[in-house]
């Protein structure tokens, strides 16, 4: 069992202090695909929230049981970890495609809502990034699950804030050179500055 304080720390750290979008720059390419609409951000975040924990747990298990086998005394018996990126990408693809097929069959309404964004997760760097952070800094299977859930939450939260701000700015006379992506990055950097300042 995890103690409550460590669990609270994990939540705060994953949601804010080590936010995957703000501090690891993962998933930035999706910022452009949601077209400044909060609803699209919600769809993408929901898809991520449903897919990421599954991928995360599966890949964590694969890494610690198939790629790296360690004996009880801590001796490394076999080390195939150089294959990790390759294996993870295949895992992501299989899980995302299966997820799409399954929700299309069993939850057509959900598919109609998030389907367009769920398939995009194959190429979203958040997924692979979280898996790689997972194996390097998370110790148990349960923690990898929690970590991925809150990473998805944190990503969605920042994305929602960003899209609401963008919607608010729609009619502003923003300088031509800063329209679109540059301003998005500046807004994100100011949000990152806030959280970084809290961390110092």
């Amino acid at each position: 069992m995890i103690e409550f304080t460590t669990f609270a720390q994990l939540i705060v750290a994953t949601l804010f202090l080590n936010n995957v979008l703000l501090f690891s720059f993962l998933g930035l390419e999706s910022v452009t695909t949601i077209e400044e609409k909060p609803k699209n951000a919600l769809k993408l975040s929901l898809a991520l929230l449903l897919v990421l924990p599954i991928v995360s747990v599966i890949s964590f298990w694969i890494y610690h049981n198939l790629l790296l086998s360690v004996s009880d005394t801590g001796e490394v018996l076999a080390d195939l970890t150089y294959l990790q990126t390759f294996v993870f990408v295949i895992t992501i693809t299989v899980v995302v495609v299966l997820f799409n097929v399954l929700i299309k069959k069993f939850f057509p309404k959900l598919y109609a809502f998030i389907g367009q964004y769920a398939i995009q997760l194959v190429s979203n760097t958040v997924v692979l990034g979280v898996l790689l952070i997972n194996i390097s800094s998370v110790d148990t299977l349960a923690n990898s699950f929690y970590f991925s859930v809150f990473a998805a939450f944190g990503y969605g939260l920042v994305l929602m804030i960003l899209t609401f701000i963008e919607k608010h700015l729609q009619e502003s006379p923003i300088p031509k050179g800063f329209k679109g992506l540059p301003l998005q990055l500046i807004i994100l950097s100011i949000i990152a500055l806030i959280l970084y300042g809290l961390n110092v």
Partner: protein, 309 residues
């Protein structure tokens, strides 16, 4: 889009949240607070204010030139940001840091978003935050004791040994403890803030919610963590909370417009401030609280029905 089209676009969008009379009155009031600060400390404080205003004017001028826009239309708005910034600063800060802070704040907080009345984040706070991250020791250690003129640490929420007596409360109100320029003389903040609310330049909902909610949160959290959260009443007079509640949080541009949004905005500021004060070791929570709520403010304004886009 060529320049003419851009200009016509701006004229169409102009009547938004910006009231030149209010900005002028606000500038006067902030200058009064700066003069009180200069009276308590030295004339160096006044110099900081002048440098800050000059930096803001120069940056806006250059920006207007580069964009080929008419300069001087929003001239009053260019005084408010640097004055608030100066009033949030400790009185012993080197001048070049004032220039860096105001420059960053005005450029990245205001000009880029389309100028006055368009900013999402309060530009003064963006500059403050940048300075706090870049020069953490200088910003937190440039406080001056008003009596002796020595460099000291400012009063923290944890230094509560002085609390509890009316005498100390009066000393706090009259500015005998080290604090930032704007918040040193609490009485001045009260009087000017009250006039501001009376003239309806600032909405009374936000300061009231911030102060009441932070007292309530301090009491509630004090039940569970008595070591971190102390006297709820005195905690309102410490640090920049009072000044920020009256002058920074009430900024009509970066806050929400609806009444419901304003109340939520104030409660959010209070909660984040109290939590940061009690649990984190950040020097002053209210600045973070306001800028975080600035980021969330567009979300608070919307009714759930309106979201169908």
């Amino acid at each position: 889009m060529n320049t003419i089209e851009m200009e016509s676009l701006e004229i169409k969008q102009q009547p938004l949240k910006v009231n030149h009379r209010n900005l002028l009155i606000m500038t006067v009031f902030l200058t009064v607070l700066l003069l009180i600060g200069a009276f308590v400390y030295t004339f160096y404080v006044l110099l900081m204010g002048v440098v800050a205003v000059a930096t803001s004017l120069i940056i806006e001028f250059i920006f207007a030139r580069v964009r080929k826009l008419k300069y001087g239309k929003d001239i009053y708005g260019e005084f408010v940001t640097p004055l608030i910034f100066t009033l949030l600063m400790p009185p012993g800060l080197p001048l070049y840091m004032v220039v860096i802070g105001v420059g960053f704040g005005v450029f990245f907080g205001k000009s880029i978003f389309g100028g006055l009345g368009r900013n999402i984040f309060n530009p003064a706070l963006v500059g403050y935050l940048f300075l706090l991250v870049t020069f953490p020791t200088e910003v937190s250690q440039s406080f001056i004791d008003p009596g002796t003129g020595q460099l000291v640490q400012s009063l923290n929420i944890s230094d509560f040994s002085f609390m509890g007596t009316t005498q100390n409360l009066f000393a706090l109100l009259l500015g005998q403890y080290a604090n930032t320029i704007g918040s040193t003389v609490m009485l001045g903040v009260w009087i000017v803030g009250a006039i501001l609310l009376f003239l309806k330049i600032a909405d009374w909902k936000i300061p009231l919610t911030v102060l009441v909610a932070s007292a309530v949160f301090t009491v509630i959290l004090g039940r569970f963590y008595p070591d971190q959260f102390h006297d709820a009443f005195f905690s309102l007079f410490l640090g920049q909370l009072m000044f920020a509640a009256f002058f920074v949080a009430t900024d009509p541009v970066s806050g929400p417009q609806t009444s419901r949004g304003k109340v939520l905005f104030g409660i959010g500021i209070a909660l984040i401030t109290v939590v940061i004060r009690g649990l984190a070791d950040a020097s002053e929570g209210v600045v973070y609280a306001i800028i975080i709520m600035n980021a969330v403010a567009p979300m608070l304004e919307k009714n759930p029905k309106e979201e169908e886009v």
